[in-house]
């Protein structure tokens, strides 16, 4: 019996190639998205799930309650030690201080140099008791116990020496400290947020930083983290209460109210966007619903087409009934056909997913793999759901046909039901695609706005190169040599560009006030050319005079506004920064510029010369001779710093990187919108084919009565305009709500105006018109004699 069903199903598909193609394509696309989204979500859910006792592992974090609440996943360096010494709530507590973008060199005949993006981590040995990163070589009991020891992954060992047998080899960090490799770690799994591959003895931290942070409670370096493994049955509340005690012991006055320390469960780390979590749960849910919607759309499509086909199958069903088939048997026959289509579609979907996974990995910089043990049941369930969702409706409808009517071709609309159902389905599909279209337009508009709005400074044709020295005379020589390079128009020594991911924020005291100002100030060190090179404008006062250390200061408008003063009122007032170490008069106020992405607010900023902080050289170059200038710059740089690794970046590229996540989001939403539109069009095509068949006689009669082709086309057009408008009115508020939430992540943003909605509906209409147009035209130009005779 089943063989017979499949045979019929196969022959039917072969006969109705267009129908089979549309069904399979739509379903395959939907299932592909389902598989990919499932993989993506399960990948993110699997993050750091391989540690022992995951429910007892926590990370410390800091909260500042200072008017607004600020959060950071980092804590002051002494916190971990103080917690360990004062409380007996945890089995293990470890501090790990990481520095990114470090230089590793391998001593030897010819020195090899590597820039490590994820950097190195000064780590207490307990770290490896808390988190499960196993050693493959070395002794677990005394790793990193003594100074100058290093632990590297197998991957790094192979990269440096081509072999993993490297115990006893030496690496040198930033040309400052040498470490001996005493252990090799198993390569990190892809699903961890702990990206460091080089761990060195914590004891060397002070030597590396030149300053003693070991007892500095007043500041937080973003790389300074601490993990703890709680004893069983210790509650989070107890630990947080203990941490509150630590605050009382180490902070005074207002600070004791501002500073708060808490612990965050391991399972929250990957998802908590406030604490640098990578995958916001919000976006994962959004993806989940998009995937669900795409599968629903594909099913809807399938039902749509299958019931439209039902008329053609009516005769066969009638015969089968007369031959003694039971409704149940017919039902299963249609289920078998659906199952066949679904299996073929799933087959293509799996291939498609295999092909597109590398693209997605590329987009997210991730290393996702298909986990077939998990994916296989998922696909199986999807198949079951799709088969029964889309097979049972046509199955039931067809199985209920009155055989005599079917045989006499007297079946009409009311027997195979649901033109109105079909309409509802198309409206649902188009609502989904319009939500995605509106989403795409808004993300594009916001990105365009972020990247094309005047940032308040000049970002074009500016090259940044690192300055790995504290030696003033070396800096000046380098600057002079750069200035002589053909094509370099201007050069300045600075800490960072006006907009940068690296910022240095310190406390600030204005005009000898009794209390420091809230929120601190972002200090941008730069020499006298800083303003002119970056095109910053003064609104009051003057630029500072050339100097090597801070004698005079500039502040920005935001800082003045926070003081509730006018720009001219602050000129000449004394400002004290850097924990009262640096005190100087304000000589000018610069016009506000965006000092980070549009996601964050403009900070209070001060600009002053201070050669201790200079870590970059900014060069304004002539783009016509950029290649030769860059080559000369590299040569000069390498002569000056033979031990360091040269790199350069264009400022506008670095700024574009602020929006990396937004660009990923854009690509995703574009892809999903395209697929949703495609599936929607397939559904629309199904509907118009169905209408064309149904209206054959009506069209024939109308044409005989003198209707023109335009009249006939309008028969179709009227119907679809109505459906699309309904879809639009459903989609618009949903999209408005969703995208409003998205834009909340931006401080500086576009407003969602009517033009966005107009654009969306216009594009949908054009797409729909193209889809419907062909089939409708064919129906309209058919010779009426033919269509009437066939009745």
């Amino acid at each position: 019996m089943i063989k017979n069903y499949l045979k019929i199903a196969w022959r039917n598909l072969k006969r109705n190639k267009a129908y089979a193609f549309i069904s399979v394509t739509g379903l395959a696309l939907g299932v592909t998205c389902g598989i990919l989204i499932f993989t993506l979500i399960s990948y993110h859910l699997s993050f750091d799930n391989f540690h022992k006792n995951p429910d007892r592992i926590y990370r410390f974090y800091t909260e500042w309650h200072d008017g607004t609440v600020g959060m950071a996943s980092a804590v002051p360096q002494p916190l971990g030690k103080a917690y360990r010494a004062n409380f007996n709530l945890s089995e293990k507590t470890a501090r790990i201080i990481s520095y990114s973008g470090t230089l590793i060199s391998l001593p030897g005949k010819d020195i090899k140099k590597f820039e490590e993006k994820d950097g190195v981590a000064f780590t207490e040995p307990e770290y490896f008791d808390i988190l499960n990163f196993p050693l493959i070589q070395g002794d677990k009991r005394n790793i990193l116990a003594k100074p100058n020891q290093a632990l590297i992954t197998e991957n790094i060992a192979k990269k440096y020496w081509g072999t993993s047998d490297v115990i006893g080899n030496t690496i040198r960090l930033d040309n400052k400290i040498s470490f001996t490799v005493t252990g090799i770690l198993k390569d990190l799994p892809a699903n961890t947020d702990r990206k460091q591959e080089i761990y060195v003895s914590y004891a060397n931290l002070d030597e590396y930083t030149d300053k003693r942070h070991e007892d500095a409670w007043g500041g937080v370096y973003s790389g300074s983290q601490a993990f703890t493994l709680l004893k069983p049955n210790v509650s989070v509340e107890r630990v947080n209460a203990a941490l509150a005690q630590l605050v009382k012991m180490n902070f005074k006055g207002r600070d004791a109210k501002v500073w708060n320390f808490k612990i965050q469960p391991l399972s929250d780390i990957h998802f908590n966007a406030d604490l640098d979590g990578y995958a916001d749960r919000k976006y994962l849910w959004a993806l989940f619903f998009i995937g669900l919607f795409l599968i629903i759309t594909a099913c809807v499509n399938f039902v749509n087409l299958a019931t439209a086909q039902a008329l053609n199958r009516a005769k066969e069903v009638g015969i089968r009934k007369v031959l003694g088939s039971l409704p149940r048997q017919l039902f299963w026959q249609f289920i078998a056909e659906t199952a066949l289509i679904t299996l073929v579609a799933t087959f293509f979907a799996v291939i498609l997913a295999e092909v597109s996974l590398p693209l997605i990995n590329n987009l997210f910089q991730s290393k996702m793999q298909f986990n077939w043990a998990l994916l296989a049941p998922f696909i199986f369930i999807i198949i079951l759901i799709v088969v029964f969702l889309s097979g049972s409706y046509p199955g039931l409808v067809l199985a209920r046909f009155q055989p005599i009517l079917a045989l006499k071709s007297k079946l009409s609309q009311k027997h195979i039901g649901g033109f109105s159902l079909r309409r509802v389905l198309v409206v649902v599909q188009f609502s989904i695609s319009q939500v995605l279209i509106i989403g795409t337009i808004i993300v594009v508009a916001q990105l365009h706005y972020s990247q094309n709005t005047d940032l308040g400074f000049n970002k074009n044709a500016i090259v940044m190169v690192p300055l790995p020295t504290d030696d003033l005379s070396k800096m000046k020589t380098l600057l002079n040599r750069f200035n002589e390079v053909n094509g370099v128009e201007k050069a300045t020594l600075c800490y960072s560009a006006p907009a940068s991911q690296s910022n240095s924020t310190t406390g600030v005291n204005f005009d000898h006030r009794a209390e420091d100002e809230h929120g601190g100030i972002n200090v941008k060190a730069g020499d006298v050319n800083y303003l002119s090179l970056f095109g910053l404008k003064l609104v009051a006062g003057r630029n500072f005079f050339a100097a090597d250390t801070t004698r005079e200061l500039l502040v920005n408008e935001t800082f003045v506004k926070k003081l509730n003063l006018k720009p001219k009122d602050v000129i000449g007032k004394i400002l004290s920064i850097d924990g009262h170490h640096t005190t100087a008069p304000i000589v000018g106020v610069v016009k506000d510029f965006y000092n980070y992405s549009f996601h964050t607010e403009i900070s209070p900023i001060c600009i002053s010369p201070n050669y201790h902080s200079y870590s970059n050289v900014a060069l304004k170059i002539n783009m016509h001779s950029a290649n030769s200038s860059l080559a000369s710059i590299e040569k000069i740089w390498n002569n000056t710093f033979p031990d360091e690794l040269y790199s350069y970046s264009f400022l506008d590229d670095s700024i574009a990187k602020f929006y990396e996540m937004d660009n990923i989001l854009l690509k995703l939403i574009e892809a999903f919108a395209a697929i949703a539109i495609l599936i929607g069009c397939l559904g629309l095509y199904g509907l118009v084919s169905f209408m064309a068949v149904r209206k054959t006689k009506e069209i024939g009669v109308r044409k005989v009565l003198g209707a023109s082709i335009q009249h006939i086309l309008w028969l179709f057009g009227k119907e679809f305009c109505k459906l699309l408008l309904i879809a639009f009115f459903i989609a618009a508020p949903i999209a408005w709500w969703a995208m409003n939430n998205y834009l909340k992540d931006f401080v500086y943003k576009i407003s969602i105006g009517p033009s966005i909605f107009l654009l969306s509906i216009a594009s949908t209409f054009i797409i729909a018109a193209i889809t419907v147009g062909y089939r409708a035209t064919v129906a309209a130009v058919t010779n009426p004699v033919k269509s009437l005779r066939s009745e």
């Binding site: 045979k7 039917n12 089968r320 031959l323 003694g324 039971l326 005599i404 045989l407």
Partner: protein
């Protein structure tokens, strides 16, 4: 074999009532070959469909093999006709996607007959109608007469007690029609098959043992030959 008492059939469209059959009384015995005649719209096909339980009468009592059909539930009724009645149509109504062999086999599938037995039965039937050579062809590759042969073979494969034929020769030329009628006559005489056919043709009607004339939904005359 079957008996109709006061059978009426009408359609209601709003307040308009269209009568198709009115007060039909008819008994058919096993072994009869009945031809139902009458002009278009006289209710011939409807009567045949009611006999075949594809359609339900609006009023009246109907017995088939002593079972009160009007009292049976859908399931029992379809089981009854599935086991005892074979249909032959004017338009053959073969399934286009299936070969000759598969078309003949299909009713057996619905009778839950095992694969080995099915093969034997279909092979017998192909032999008997001398269409073995055509068993792998599709309906569209056959002439009308051949298609109707397949249709009859398919109707007979489950060995029904009653064969119902709705203008079986209506789409055929006279030579093909004669062959089909010869076949019916032979089935009736040699195997004692009860046959009821609807026909327009006096000549075809004459193959039977009784002719019933319908006019405007009532039996005008019934005569044995």
């Amino acid at each position: 074999m079957l008996s109709l008492k006061n059978i009426s059939k009408y359609h209601k469209a709003g307040s308009l009532k269209t009568t198709i059959l009115q007060n039909i009384n008819l008994d058919v015995d096993a072994g009869e070959f009945v031809s139902i005649m009458g002009p278009s719209g006289s209710g011939k096909s409807t009567l045949l469909n009611i006999i075949g339980m594809l359609d339900e009468p609006s009023e009246g009592y109907q017995y088939f093999l002593n079972e009160p059909v009007h009292q049976l539930k859908d399931k029992q009724r379809s089981a009854l006709y599935k086991a005892n009645i074979g249909f032959v149509f004017q338009a053959y109504h073969l399934i286009d996607e299936l070969t000759v062999y598969e078309n003949i086999e299909t009713p057996l599938l619905y009778h839950d007959i095992k694969s080995g037995e099915r093969k034997a039965l279909v092979a017998d039937m192909l032999d008997r109608f001398q269409i073995v050579g055509k068993k792998d062809l599709f309906p569209s590759q056959l002439s009308g007469g051949q298609q109707q042969l397949v249709g009859i073979a398919r109707a007979l494969i489950v060995s029904p007690k009653l064969l119902l034929a709705d203008e079986p020769t209506g789409n055929l030329n006279s030579k093909q029609g004669d062959e089909i009628m010869e076949l019916f006559s032979k089935l009736n005489k040699e195997e004692g098959m009860t046959i009821i056919q609807v026909t327009h043709s006096e000549k075809n009607a004459a193959y039977g043992t009784r002719i019933i004339n319908l006019l405007d939904g009532t039996i005008e005359s019934s005569k044995n030959i």
